[in-house]
């Protein structure tokens, strides 16, 4: 499998940080808050690899640093240290070494993000179609008819009623808002998609539909995805490989089946046991 993303030693510390931060935090210390300087070690020394068309699950409790990780990769936050390389057409892009304009291009055209809260991913002051148009206008599209056609196509693909395309997503149900977000994320055919707790807070039947949609898209477009969730069901259904995080560190990594059937780390064992 061809690699699309390689992350090495990625760290994020909120606060000033001190030399003792790393030593004093982590799963062994049972905290991510440094007792010496009060900084929060949200992620430390995270290594991961992602292949083309692969779905990688990131699992962990609240505050384990899983959302921080995708925010770093999507340039929502700047990392304290580490490297992330994005591979495309034989080229290597060192993500955090790119200048601001190229990072924005990367974010707008090569990546897609679906947030748990649609407020973060969508602009509620414009129509659903407008939200998709905005992303298309970030590329060099300047033909109104083409933009509208593409928006219609995407919304049809994600099963949003086309009659409601010109309404604000504010008037939509939670499941529909998530569908619009997915359509928006897919607008530029990105090879890499980040999904941050996409089904949390939706009712079970809607959850199933959204997960089906994600799987279909992955099979159709061969989009690589990083799926962040604390729901073992989502991990089981979507992810081929899974990473388990706690207090900003990776504590276990491997094939999803292996992790769910034969967890090695005590925390993972507890997590799997509690869901059954």
């Amino acid at each position: 499998m061809k690699k699309i993303l390689e992350v090495t030693g990625l760290s994020k510390i909120y606060g000033n940080g001190c030399p003792l931060c790393i030593e004093a935090t982590g799963p062994e210390r049972d905290t991510n808050l440094c007792p010496h300087c009060g900084s929060v070690v949200a992620a430390h020394d995270v290594d991961l690899e992602l292949g083309e068309g692969e779905i990688l699950g990131i699992m962990g409790e609240s505050g384990s640093g899983k959302s921080t990780l995708v925010k770093l990769l999507y340039f929502d936050e700047t990392p304290t240290g580490g490297r992330a390389v994005f591979f495309e057409d034989g080229q290597e892009h060192d993500l955090f070494a790119l200048n601001a304009a190229r990072q924005r291009r990367m974010r707008n055209q090569r990546f897609g993000m679906v947030y748990q809260n649609p407020h973060l991913g969508l602009n509620f002051n414009i129509s659903a179609g407008g939200n998709i148009a905005e992303r298309l206008l970030m590329t060099d599209m300047d033909h109104y008819g083409d933009i509208r056609g593409r928006a219609r196509e995407l919304l049809a693909r994600t099963e949003v009623m086309l009659e409601r395309m010109d309404e604000s997503p504010r008037k939509f149900s939670g499941g529909m808002q998530q569908r619009v977000q997915i359509a928006k994320a897919l607008a530029t055919h990105p090879p890499l998609l980040f999904l941050d707790e996409v089904t949390t807070g939706l009712d079970l039947s809607v959850q199933a539909c959204i997960l089906d949609l994600i799987l279909e898209i992955q099979q159709e477009l061969r989009t690589a995805m990083i799926v962040v969730t604390h729901d073992l069901g989502v991990i089981r259904l979507l992810a081929g490989r899974t990473i388990v995080m706690k207090y900003g560190r990776i504590i276990e990594t491997g094939l999803t089946d292996q992790i769910l059937e034969d967890p090695q780390h005590a925390y993972t064992q507890r997590l799997v046991a509690s869901s059954l």
Partner: protein, 298 residues
Amino acid sequence: MNPNYELCTDEVAYNFGFLDEYAKREVRRAILKAICIPGYQTPYASREMPMGRGFGTGGLQLTLSLIGPRETLKVIDQGADDSVNAVNLRQFIELTCPGVTTTENTRAATLIQSRHRIPEQELTEDQILVLQVPYPDPLVIVEPSERKRKVMHGEGDYSRLLTKLYEDIVRFDEITIAHRYPTRIASHYVIDPSPIPRFDVPKLHRSPTLILFGAGRERKIYAVPPYTEAVPLAFVDVPFRIESFIDEHGVRRPCARCGATGSYLDECFDAAGAKAYQCSDSDWCNEQLHSRTEGASS
């Protein structure tokens, strides 16, 4: 202006042009920078002027730092030389700049300060046009934080402004921005060309005249240097249009006073209370009327 109030003419009191020389120098530096980076909003230290912010203090400071005793000045407000804003500014400049000639004739002026219009008469390389600006940043409608707007300008990220145009077409089948039409200068920065109507926007494109924009309250100066590209934002298949002034019979309305059919018209009411359309540029209207009556008498 209070006719009983005499401005102190003592040489230690008020300098020529009201602003002191250091203030003028600072404004001129900002102007030079603005010309060097077409469309970039250059910050400057907007001074307190003896009139409220919003009455053209930005344009006035530009005019006062550019004007010299040999200059001929024209001040326009909404196309007219005799409306309140124009009269007040002209009187103030006459008072503080002894030796400066003022005129209503567009051709005769070397420096023109204007509010909301660009004159109909084609301007030349020897003239400078100063426009008064209330809101210098076109992105203010889509992004409230100035810090973020600066980054967006720097990276040329105008997708949210274009989304606004998209939304307009979806809802009204056309772009509904009537004035302050966002215009891209020299293929990078998008400016708010001050509240000129759409009709005047094409006049910015490759204009032989230096066009300066001054915002007093927002403390910004920007410029469209001579012969610079100025392209209004639009889509390939929904192009930019100017006001057509076509009446219900499909005929271009003429000016009710001078009969011109190529000028920007104001809608007003005649003595009988009926709607009438008249040139907004009073100097242009007078000139057209004059040449017509002269043509008729000879």
